[in-house]
């Protein structure tokens, strides 16, 4: 109902074809939400209640989520949509990713709300950036054209660069933002160069056209094409923090304000993988999979092993989670590597699960970081099981879920990935992935050990306060982690249906 009204409103305002606007409604809601928030806040000066930006942001995300559901049904009924001359393709794949991004916006906003208050930081800009980043992400998810994809990526990235540096009192935050920016620029250059080469080889940036072109023509001089693929892969690998393009990640995750780290780990990864799947699996899958799969395989194995092994030796929990996220990226790369519908849905399921697990984890970390966001050593977790049993239990569940213990989302997401790997005949890769998961389990256990088994009563560093908003975020994450592990059917069903198709531009 509301979506229909909104659709009509938007249609009457713009006077543009109604269908197109309603179809990109999630992106528009998020982007507009950000812009409007900035406007409202600057107009009203400081008269708004402190909770206002957060509530606004969440409302926007929820509204976007509603339109996602609406569109989901519509796409099911009427088929995929091609918008803006085929530059944007709306299928269930992109909707699934957009939905996932909305979820991370909701949780990110909740985490920010508690964080900003504790740190006495001015609020609205953070939320604006959050919304804009999400809008960028959704654009990437629906991109049917390499240029659109690049634009989405840049919107997302720039917003997150700034967010990383937003804690102005912390040097590490500034350093983190700067580092991220420099490396990000480097990676963007690679990506753009790759796009250019592909364009050179195929004469188009439109994914569907590229796909058709490659299907219809055999490129005799394929150097340009292959170079383009390699360079684009570098760009994406950087964004998902795959080894060896990962080195920024630990520093940035550690330095960035914790809720931002959370958002980075969840949303940036989700959007980047969405883009990667669209380009590699959909557009290049049928014709060039044999060329890019070995490269992805190498990235996957390296990410799995290096991520897990490096995580073992960290003493800073944020850094640990950064390395573990590299390992998780490796897992998702395994799914991408299989280059099948099964692999795509496995990746989608993994991304949603990971969003819950990692946002929950960082939520706990944000709280335990205490005022100043500096208590991130393992020793800072001593006795948490005693003084904050609920929080510790939640963290335990997130960690065990990341380790892949059954009845959690983490288990089933690994399950799906392994299945897709086996299905495409890569059993050995599955074994490597699972062994990496075992190595990684050790680091999750180290945190649990610190929380429960170490320290005497009374030697906890400082009391830990859990803001209400953060509790809600952790609660959502917990619910998501467990529900996806126990009753995954609705989501797996959706993920299966969300296997993407390339939407051919209307002629």
């Amino acid at each position: 109902m509301t979506a229909a009204v909104l659709q009509n409103v938007l249609a009457s305002v713009g006077g543009l074809p109604s269908i197109e606007f309603s179809s990109v409604a999630p992106s528009i809601i998020l982007a507009l939400g950000g812009v409007l928030l900035l406007t409202v806040v600057s107009v009203t000066k400081d008269k708004l209640p402190v909770w206002f930006p957060a509530v606004w942001t969440i409302s926007a995300a929820v509204a976007a989520l509603c339109t996602v559901f609406r569109l989901w049904i519509r796409v099911g009924k009427w088929g995929n949509l091609s918008l803006i001359s085929g530059a944007v393709g709306l299928d269930r794949f992109s909707l699934f990713v957009i939905g996932t991004l909305c979820v991370s916006v909701v949780m990110g906003a909740l985490l920010l709300e508690g964080y900003l208050r504790r740190e006495d930081l001015e609020g609205p800009e953070w939320y604006v950036l959050l919304l804009l980043a999400a809008a960028g992400g959704t654009t990437m998810a629906a991109a049917n054209d390499l240029i659109v994809l690049f634009i989405g990526l840049e919107i997302l990235s720039i917003a997150v660069y700034i967010l990383s540096a937003m804690h102005r009192r912390r040097m590490s935050s500034l350093e983190s933002g700067l580092k991220y920016f420099i490396h990000g620029a480097f990676a963007s250059a690679f990506l753009l160069y790759g796009i250019a080469m592909v364009y050179g080889a195929t004469g188009s940036t439109n994914l569907a056209r590229i796909s058709t072109f490659l299907a219809d023509n055999v490129i005799t001089q394929n150097g340009l094409m292959l170079g383009g693929i390699a360079l684009m892969l570098v760009g994406f690998a950087f964004k998902v923090a795959a080894v060896p393009f990962h080195q920024w990640a630990p520093d940035v995750y550690q330095g960035a304000p914790t809720p931002v780290s959370a958002f980075m780990a969840a949303a940036v990864k989700t959007a980047a993988f969405a883009g990667m799947i669209r380009v590699f699996v959909l557009a290049l899958g049928p014709t060039y999979r044999d060329e890019w799969r070995p490269m992805v395989l190498a990235l996957a194995v390296l990410s799995l092993l290096v991520g897990s092994v490096m995580a073992l030796v960290q003493t800073n929990v944020k850094r640990m989670l950064a390395y573990s996220s590299i390992g998780h990226a490796g897992f998702i790369l395994v799914a991408v590597h299989s280059s099948t519908a099964m692999g795509t849905s496995a990746a989608l399921f993994y991304l949603l699960s990971y969003t819950f697990m990692v946002m929950g984890s960082f939520g706990v970390v944000a709280v335990v970081g205490r005022k100043g966001d500096g208590h991130h050593q393992l020793s800072d977790y001593r006795g948490l099981g005693r003084i904050r049993p609920g929080l510790a239990l939640a963290f335990t569940i997130f960690l065990l879920a990341q380790a892949g213990v059954p009845l959690t989302a983490g288990f089933l997401s690994k399950f799906y990935v392994i299945r897709s790997a086996i299905d495409s005949g890569d059993t050995a890769l599955g074994v490597v992935a699972m062994l990496a998961a075992v190595i990684a389990a050790f680091l999750y256990l180290r945190v649990i050990v610190a929380m429960y088994f170490e320290g005497e009563p009374g030697d906890e560093v400082a009391p830990v306060k859990v803001p209400a908003a953060v509790s809600v975020a952790i609660g959502i994450a917990l619910a998501g982690t467990l529900l996806l592990g126990i009753v995954p059917d609705p989501v797996t069903h959706a993920a299966n249906e969300a296997t993407a198709e390339l939407v051919a531009p209307r002629r």
């Binding site: 059954p406 086996i422 062994l435 998961a437 075992v438 256990l445 429960y452 059917d489 299966n496």
Partner: protein, 520 residues
């Protein structure tokens, strides 16, 4: 085949109990123990009901229930028990109240009892799951409570032990997960239709190529070998057993160690008959190595609990030996021994725990002459020890004997070497007994309190079973046999050139009907 809610309820009830414990405030310390006890007794009651209503002679699964869980993956909550799993479920249900009564946590009762109840649910679930993924889920999930039990209420190097235990098992199950997914995927590719992880279907259809099933068997076998544990994957066990609190050690011995051997029967022999026969020489060798090696290591231990832990390595070796002899006697003996080892070693751990509570040490050299100060405890210990040694007339003998007999029949020379374990078992246990209970009691040892009535009451059911099952194992064998026979026939049918030597009785014709020479 009617559906029964019994098994799902048996799994659900402890979860509910754990939930109640979790929701109560931690300061109501007096409530947790009764809740946990009550829950476990309810479960035991259901287990007894199941035992009583179990149809003797039916080789198939009973009390079956089957509900779709994850439709997309063809995973069902398929539960059922047959002769192979029946007594393991009953053992798990029975040992919990005893473990609960036999020891107390010294701090944090709330999480202690909460985790124990989760462990109970997992233990029941793992033995009645008939879906590979569901089995795997329980197989893994029991790790978590045990991890916390060792880590939070354990002794000495508890963190090291708990971590080692967790990672070791995870390592095995990682491979198993890949294996079971591969099994289902390849099965689907071979026969078409939807993906399924249903044990019954997969075992019946045997759709995989020989090579594939051998590989997958290996993946499963590694996971189970870690759990058993088989040499050289056993070193987590002494640490876990030694550092665990008493209840943890008891449950490790009674329930957790059985996951591996049970897995070998249910998910090894049944799913991969050909690969099992193929791998039997290796498994038999590992079993025999476990028997001898575990016993030798046990002999040299200086810590009483560690000694019992190594004795488990030896005992489990007998079970593996029996199972991979692939004879009716061997498999039945193995299953019997699983239960008996649970009873006997459970009792041993309880006793060691009681000694520890009194003396605050498990160092054998620090204990001496306890029989003077605690004659009743010494008597009980003697009985349990003799059962562990495998004295005929006590429970430990029957399973061990059948396992060895089966091995002798199916794999003669392994059987011959394995019998030396009988000598070694006497050596290490009697030596330990001598050092701890014999001799002069001085100092603290002379003042040690004897068994209290309540402790005696906790041990009494185990002692009763030790004697009863030694004299009348028929109650168990009658129920185990049909399923085992069916399993052997299944292997016989699916493995070319394999002679299931006991499918038809081979008593020489002259002796037929000569069993009764007239009733006195």
């Amino acid at each position: 085949m009617t559906s029964s809610a019994l098994l799902p309820l048996m799994i659900l009830v402890p979860f509910v109990g754990a939930g109640i414990v979790a929701l109560l405030p931690a300061r109501r310390t007096e409530l947790f123990r009764p809740i946990a006890l009550l829950t476990s007794i309810v479960v035991l009651g259901m287990a007894v009901f199941m035992l009583v209503n179990f149809k003797v002679g039916d080789p198939g699964y009973q009390f079956e229930s089957n509900t779709t869980w994850i439709k997309d993956l063809g995973i069902s909550l398929h539960f059922g028990v047959d002769g192979i799993s029946l007594f393991l479920v009953v053992l798990a249900a029975g040992i919990f109240p005893i473990a609960l009564l036999g020891s107390n946590p010294d701090h944090d009762p709330k999480p202690y009892y909460g985790w124990l109840l989760v462990l109970l649910a997992g233990s029941i679930g793992v033995f009645c799951a008939l879906d590979l993924v569901v089995f795997f889920v329980f197989f893994e999930i029991v790790l978590v409570p045990m991890y916390f039990l060792i880590g939070l209420w354990g002794h000495g190097r508890r963190v090291y032990a708990a971590t080692k235990f967790f990672l070791y098992t995870m390592f095995g199950s990682a491979l198993m997960l890949v294996g079971l997914i591969a099994l289902a995927v390849l099965h689907q590719k071979a026969v078409g239709g939807p993906l399924t992880f249903d044990l019954v279907t997969l075992a019946r259809e045997q759709a995989l190529s020989t090579t594939a099933s051998r590989w997958i068997f290996v993946a499963f076998a590694v996971a189970f070998a870690v759990k058993v544990p088989l040499f050289p994957l056993h070193t987590w066990l002494p640490d876990a057993h030694t550092e665990a609190p008493t209840a943890g050690s008891v449950l490790l011995a009674a329930v957790m160690l059985k996951l591996g051997t049970y897995g070998f029967v249910r998910f090894g022999l049944d799913l991969f008959p050909e690969a099992s026969v193929w791998a039997a020489p290796v498994m038999l060798t590992l079993g025999v190595v476990g028997i001898v090696y575990g016993a030798i290591c046990a002999t040299m231990q200086k810590d009483l609990k560690r000694l019992v832990a190594y004795s488990s390595v030896a005992h489990l070796g007998f079970i593996v030996l029996g199972i991979f002899s692939i004879t009716t006697q061997g498999i039945e003996g193995g299953i019997l021994q699983m239960v008996n080892h649970g009873i006997t070693t459970g009792a041993l751990f309880l006793l060691v725990g009681m000694v520890y509570e009194r003396r605050h040490t498990r160092e054998i050299s620090a204990l001496s002459g306890l029989q003077s100060s605690a004659p009743v405890m010494a008597g009980v210990f003697t009985l349990v020890m003799l059962s562990s040694i495998g004295l005929p007339g006590l429970n430990g003998f029957v399973g061990e004997f059948l396992a060895l007999l089966g091995a002798f029949k199916g794999a003669r020379w392994w059987g011959v070497v394995a019998v030396t374990g009988v000598i070694l078992a006497a050596l290490y246990l009697l030596w330990a007994y001598q050092r701890v209970f014999h001799g002069k009691a001085e100092g603290e040892n002379a003042k040690m309190r004897d068994l209290t009535w309540s402790e005696g009451a906790v041990l009494a059911p185990l002692l009763f079973l030790i004697v009863f099952l030694g004299i009348y194992p028929k109650v168990m064998l009658d129920r185990i046999e049909p399923s085992v026979k069916a399993l052997v026939v299944h292997i016989d049918r699916n493995v070319e050139g394999f002679d299931a030597k006991d499918v038809t009785p081979k008593i020489a014709p002259a002796a037929k009907g000569a069993e009764h020479g007239g009733e006195g």
